[in-house]
Symmetry: C2
Subunit: 210 residues, 2 copies
C-alpha cells in the first residue's frame, strides 16, 4: 500500500465501485476512462489519476478490466473483510438499518442493538434482541465489535460515541445530526440526512440563479 | 439576494444552522466567529467569509446575534416556506422517513406515498395511505408536490425520477444508490448511505496511515 490517499479520492472510490457493479450486471467486461467518464460524470483524466493511485489497472487502448478493478477496489476499501456492527438507538431509522438485510449478506453483520426505551428493549429484529444501553460497553468488549452505528436523538449522540470508544470500536457510523468529538484513531462516517434536505431546499429556492 | 453562492457554502449552511439551534437551546444569545470556530471546526475566517455572503451579521466586538442569524439562515435556505413531499418506495427506509414526524412539523409534510408492492399499497402511515405507483404522475400534478423522495431499489430509481420530473416536482431527494439523470432545473440531493459506510471502512482499514 502506498502513501495516504486523500479524503476526496477515498470518497470517490465507493462511487466507482457502484458504477462498476452496474457494468458487471450489464455483462460489460472492459471500459475506457472516456466511457466511464460519460457514465460517472468525473473527467476521464480524473478517473485515470484516481485509479493510478492504486497501481494503474488501465491499459492503453484496452481500458479497464471491470471485474479485476471492482475486486481491487473492494480490497482497497477493505470490503473483503467482515465488520461486526451494533446499532444504538432502535427508532425508525435504527430499525430500517437493522432490517436492511443486504448489510448482513455483504460482510456487515449487525450483532447487537441497544436502546434505553423499555418499549423497544426485548424486541427481536433479524434474530437480534434489543438490549438495554447499559450493557453496551461490556457487549462491545466481549464481542470485539468493529463499527458502532448511532441512530439516537442528537442529544444522546456524544454520550453514546464516548461509550463506543470506551468499548473499543474501530469506527463510528453516525446518523445523529451532531458532529462527534472522538479520538483521532476512531474515524467517523457522518450521514447528516436532514442537512442534505436543507441544501436541496436552498437549490430549489434559488434555481433561477443557476 | 446576491450572486450565486458556491455549492460548498450551500452545503455548510445547514451545518451552521444545526450549531445555532444547539446554541439557542443552551440560551446563548451571541457568539463570536472565534467561539463558533471552536465548536464547528471551520476556521474563524472561513465562518466570517461564509456569513458575509449574506450581508455580514457580525459586529466587531459583539459577535453574531444567534437568533437573528438562525432566522436569516432559515430564510436563505428557504426553510421559512412549506414543501410538500411524496415518498416513492415504502420499504424500510421509506417507512422510517414517513414515520419521522419532525418533517411534518417543520414544513415538510409528506402528503403521498407510492409503491408497486401490493402488500404495501393500502398501508396507512401517519394518516397517508400508500398508493399504487401508477397514480404517481397524476397525483403530483393535482397536488403541486414540491419534493419527490426516492427510496426504491436502485434499478427503479431512474424511472421514478423521470416520472417525478414529468409530474413537475421542483427537486428530488434521492436515497437510491444511483446517480440520476434529470433536467438542470430539477436539483437532486443525494444521500448515498452505503457510500459513507464504504468510505468509513476504508478509513478503518487504513487508520495506521493517518
Amino acid at each position: 500500500m502506498k502513501a495516504k490517499i486523500s479524503d476526496a479520492v477515498v470518497n470517490r472510490l465507493p462511487v466507482y465501485r457502484r458504477y462498476l457493479e452496474d457494468l458487471m450486471h450489464e455483462d460489460v467486461e472492459r471500459i475506457s476512462s472516456n466511457e466511464l467518464s460519460k457514465r460517472i460524470g468525473f473527467t476521464a483524466s480524473q478517473i485515470r489519476q484516481d485509479l493510478n493511485n492504486f497501481g494503474g489497472f488501465g491499459q492503453q487502448g484496452y481500458g479497464y478490466n471491470i471485474k479485476a478493478l471492482y475486486k481491487e477496489i473492494n480490497t482497497i476499501l477493505g470490503l473483503d473483510m467482515e465488520y461486526k456492527m451494533v446499532i444504538v438507538g432502535v427508532g425508525n431509522l435504527g430499525q430500517a438499518i437493522a432490517n436492511h438485510t443486504k448489510y448482513y449478506k455483504n460482510g456487515f453483520p449487525i450483532i447487537g442493538m441497544f436502546d434505553i426505551n423499555p418499549k423497544v428493549i426485548g424486541l427481536r429484529i433479524n434474530d437480534v434482541v434489543v438490549q438495554d444501553a447499559d450493557n453496551l460497553v461490556d457487549f462491545l468488549k466481549e464481542n470485539k465489535v468493529d463499527i458502532g452505528i448511532i441512530t439516537t436523538e442528537k442529544e444522546a449522540a456524544q454520550g453514546i460515541a464516548d461509550r463506543l470508544v470506551q468499548g473499543g470500536v474501530k469506527g463510528i457510523w453516525n446518523f445523529a445530526p451532531r458532529d462527534l468529538v472522538v479520538p483521532k484513531n476512531v474515524p467517523v462516517g457522518n450521514v447528516h440526512v436532514t442537512d442534505t434536505l436543507n441544501s436541496l431546499v436552498y437549490r430549489i429556492a434559488h434555481i433561477d440563479q443557476e
